[in-house]
Symmetry: C2
Subunit: 305 residues, 2 copies
């Protein structure tokens, strides 16, 4: 049976590139494997796949009972196929907190590390085999790290992520500054998406003090382009929240180059959450949060509802 | 803050030795750490600690909010302190299936491998630092592997566990056959324990088809000594089951040398479970199951209630 390797729903660059990397490595080391996607990747991931010569993996909506699977870049059942606990998960490689809920049928390989990027962990697990990887695999690895670290600006970045990316870039003859700019330009081109699609593009659900929050992030080098659609985005929030069973949507527009986030404040409840969580005063329907780049490190740990 | 390293409740050799090994390694690499126990170790673990010159770690009944902890040899909240999700778990090293229920506050180091023994995983994680470990640490590592593999007889044994143990034994100048015999003799000396203590000594709870089973194993080179107490053990089962909220106790007396298990059959429900699970016919109050050595590999996956 071919093992299917996939990341989380609403795939970003790491959840698109890491399955391709690991499927290559498994196949190279004797276990036939193929990457899959759990949704349409974002525009940065599309750019990265094309840049390094990969066809996009097929999108799957669920997994069959007993299907051999490797899960990467998440351990959260809410971000995985509905039948994931019916599948035969053979490995998990991730860099998020353990949320519970995922069960395996027997002891398997699980590697979770507090690094910025799944691909960095794969780099370490592959060891000397990385030298045998085609250029495209190493290019994906570099792309995943630059994406997840926002070119080393995110506070999730570790010295190790940076060292691995710099070594890969040198080896590939790629300028990190130029290539990151190309990636971020691709990510910032969101003109073709509806407001609801933008809200759900990079979004995770959390329950904070009993309130269900859909915490959405849009990382961009062109915040003005997103913020020009502010009114339409706020108008779309109640519908998205209702459809997804959340109480509120919190949309953070992360300005990659200026290293700050603008939070949209559609109502008094979000205003109260913002003021309780981020030591700020909100006057109007947006608030700028200097230095805020990372949902994992800076937004989620501070949220108070 | 000193990090506390502990394994599961009802500690066996791996859950006693692995915390000592990892606390040494953490301290050696700059993070002060101490081993703890979640109960009195079995007689084999007591023998092993004394043989390699270790004082027994202190027994703790719970952990405080925010206490830095490393969990080894389990990922099951039922086998851990009640407040484990209130503590600050910084790493998990384990070789059991993921059961869900454990949550961490952020991304941490989690290494789970389908190997026979936690200490084998630690061997791999320590790399070249192992050469700097005192003899006692390497002795514990060898002991954990021989214990968990029943001297390579258990079907959980991998080639890698075996190779690591053989290299350690050669390095330490220890005869695997002689030392294993000493360990198993220590484990088999259960004369000082009550029937209820024997039932709970190496025991895990599982829900199978809606029936709550306390699945207990006694690994011994002297099965006759345990089976001579068969009537008293069966008489103690209803009380243990009731106290622990289980429907039935299933006690497997594993004959290490003859590589078979004798299951005690106190009533018709256990008889029905035994016949449905192990392709056997029960006539009387025990049944011998040839080749059955491992709860994880051979008992749990086959149980049908």
């Amino acid at each position: 049976m071919t093992t299917l390797v996939f990341g989380h729903k609403a795939p970003d660059t790491d959840s698109t590139g890491s399955p391709l990397i690991w499927a290559w490595y498994m196949s190279h080391t004797g276990t036939p494997a193929e990457a899959r996607l759990l949704g349409t990747p974002n525009t940065e991931a599309l750019f990265v796949a094309e840049r390094w010569g990969f066809d996009l993996p097929a999108v799957i909506s669920d997994v069959e009972d007993g299907q051999d699977c490797v899960i990467v870049d998440t351990n959260n059942p809410a971000e995985l196929p509905a039948n994931i606990n019916g599948a035969n998960v053979t490995a998990i490689i991730d860099h998020h907190k353990l949320v519970g809920g995922l069960e395996t049928k027997g002891p398997i390989d699980i590697t979770i590390r507090p690094l910025a990027c799944t691909a960095t962990i794969m780099h370490d697990l592959m060891g000397d085999d990385l030298a045998k990887a085609p250029e495209g695999i190493r290019g994906l690895m570099l792309s995943c790290i630059l994406s997840d670290t926002l070119e080393f600006r995110s506070p999730t970045t570790t010295d190790h992520d940076r060292a691995v990316a710099e070594a890969l870039a040198a080896d590939l003859g790629v300028s990190i500054a130029d290539y990151s700019a190309e990636m971020f330009a691709a990510k910032s081109d969101v003109s073709s998406f509806s407001e609801a699609e933008l809200i759900r593009m990079d979004s995770k659900e959390f329950t904070v003090d009993g309130t269900g929050l859909r915490v959405s992030v849009l990382e961009t080098t062109s915040p003005a382009a997103v913020l020009s659609r502010k009114d339409a985005l706020m108008a779309a929030m109640p519908g998205v929240a209702k459809e997804d069973g959340a109480d509120e949507v919190m949309l953070f527009v992360v300005d990659i180059l200026n290293e700050e986030a603008t939070l949209l404040v559609p109502n008094d409840r979000v205003k109260a959450i913002a003021e309780a969580s981020f030591d700020c005063t909100v006057s109007g329907d947006t608030v700028v949060l200097p230095g805020i780049m990372s949902r994992k490190k800076q937004i989620i740990p501070n949220l108070k509802a």
